[in-house]
Symmetry: C2
Subunit: 221 residues, 2 copies
C-alpha cells in the first residue's frame, strides 16, 4: 500500500474509533467519520466499503496490538502470576484510556445492532492468560485444582465484567482500585498454599498488593 | 387501580419485556408492543406515556421481585455462604430464562441509547450479598481479610460479567457450569481456613461443589 493511502486509512480508523467510543455505533455516521478525520466520505467507502467495514477494522486493529502487549510479559525473571496481574492492570488502563480499546469494547457491547459478525474480542486475552497460568503451574506456583485454560476463561470474563461495570457505575478513575479488590479476592485461591496455611513467600492470604512489571513497558501502544 | 387497568398494564409490560429482551430497545417500537400484547398503541401511551416510560417500568418491576427472591435465602439453618451461592445460581437462571430479567439486563447494556436514566440494576443484588456476607462474618465463616460491603460489590460485578459474557460467547446453557468454575476459584479465598491449611469442615480448597438451597424454593417468580 502506498504511504499516503496508509496515512489516510489510519486517520479514518482513529477518527472512527474515537466516535464509536464516544457515541456508539448507531450514533456514528460515515459523515461524522469524514468530518472528524478531515477526509471525504468517499475515502471511507473507498478504504472500508461501509460503516460495518470500518467497525470491523477497528476491532481487528485492536487485536493486532495484543501480541505486542503480551510479548512484554515474557520476562522469565518475574513470576508468571505477577506478570498476569500486571497485564490485567495494563488492559484495564487501555479500557479506560485508549480510544481503540474503548471502541472495541463498546462495539462488542452493541454487537446486536451491527450488521456484521464481530470477532471474539476476548480470545487473545484468554490465550495470553492461559499461557501465563501454564507457566505458573509448571513452576509450582498454582493451587493443585487450578487448570490453566478453564481458569483463564473464568478470569477474563470476571475481569471484563468488573472493569466495565465499575466504569459504568463509578467512573473510569475507580477501576484500578476495584481491580485490586478483585485480585485480593482471587489470588489466594489461585496460588499454591505453602504448608501451615501460609501463602508462597510466607505472605498471609489477602495481604497481597500488586507489584506492576516495570512501568516503562506498561503502556499499550 | 381498577382490575381491568391492572391487567392491561401487566400485559403491556410483559409484551414489552419480551420484545426488549429479543430485539433490544432501539429494535422495539410502541407498535410492536401493541401488536404483541393485543392492546392498542393508545393503551401504551395512556399507561406508560412513552417507550422510555415502559422501559423504566420493566426495569423497576424486575427490582420489585428481588426482595421476595432474597427473602427465600433467610433460612438460618443453611450457612450464609451456601445461601449466597444458591442465590447466585437462581439469579443466573433468571438471567438466562426470565423475560423480565433478560429485558432488564439488555436495557442496562443499551442504556446509552435510552433517553431516560435507568436505576442501577445491581444495587439490590449487592445489598443482598452484603447482608449474607455480614452474617457469614458474624458466624466466623469468612477469611480474616474479607469485608462484606466491598467484597459484595466485587462479587456482583464479576458474577454479572461472567454470566453475560458466557451467554454471549457460548450460549445460556453453559452459564451454570461456568458459574461453578467461578465459585471454585472464588470460594477458597472467601472462606475462613481452619488451622493446617484445610478449609472449614475439613474440605480442601477447591474441592467445593455447590449444594443449592431447596429446589422447591429456587425459581424466581
Amino acid at each position: 500500500m502506498q504511504e499516503r493511502a496508509r496515512t489516510t486509512r489510519r486517520s479514518l480508523l482513529e477518527a472512527a474509533a474515537q466516535l464509536f467510543a464516544e457515541q456508539g455505533y448507531a450514533g456514528t455516521s460515515v459523515n461524522d467519520i469524514s468530518a472528524r478525520s478531515g477526509r471525504t466520505s468517499g475515502a471511507v467507502y473507498f478504504h472500508y466499503a461501509s460503516k460495518e467495514g470500518i467497525a470491523l477494522a477497528v476491532v481487528r486493529d485492536r487485536f493486532a496490538t495484543w501480541p505486542q502487549l503480551t510479548a512484554r510479559y515474557a520476562d522469565a525473571a518475574v513470576p508468571p502470576v505477577d506478570r498476569l496481574v500486571a497485564l490485567s492492570y495494563d488492559i484495564a488502563r487501555a479500557l479506560a484510556e485508549d480510544p481503540l480499546t474503548r471502541a472495541g469494547a463498546r462495539l462488542w457491547a452493541e454487537r446486536a445492532t451491527i450488521d456484521a459478525p464481530l470477532p471474539d474480542p476476548f480470545a487473545l486475552w484468554t490465550a495470553a492468560a492461559t499461557r501465563l497460568l501454564a507457566e505458573a503451574r509448571h513452576a509450582g506456583h498454582l493451587a493443585a485444582h487450578v487448570r490453566p485454560a478453564p481458569t483463564a476463561r473464568t478470569l477474563v470474563r470476571a475481569f471484563f465484567g468488573l472493569c466495565s461495570l465499575t466504569e459504568a457505575l463509578e467512573g473510569a478513575a475507580t477501576v484500578t482500585d476495584r481491580l485490586t479488590d478483585w485480585w485480593q479476592l482471587t489470588l489466594p485461591s489461585l496460588r499454591a498454599a505453602a504448608p501451615g496455611g501460609q501463602r508462597r513467600d510466607g505472605e498471609p492470604a489477602g495481604e497481597w498488593a500488586p507489584t506492576p512489571v516495570s512501568r516503562r513497558n506498561s503502556r499499550p501502544s
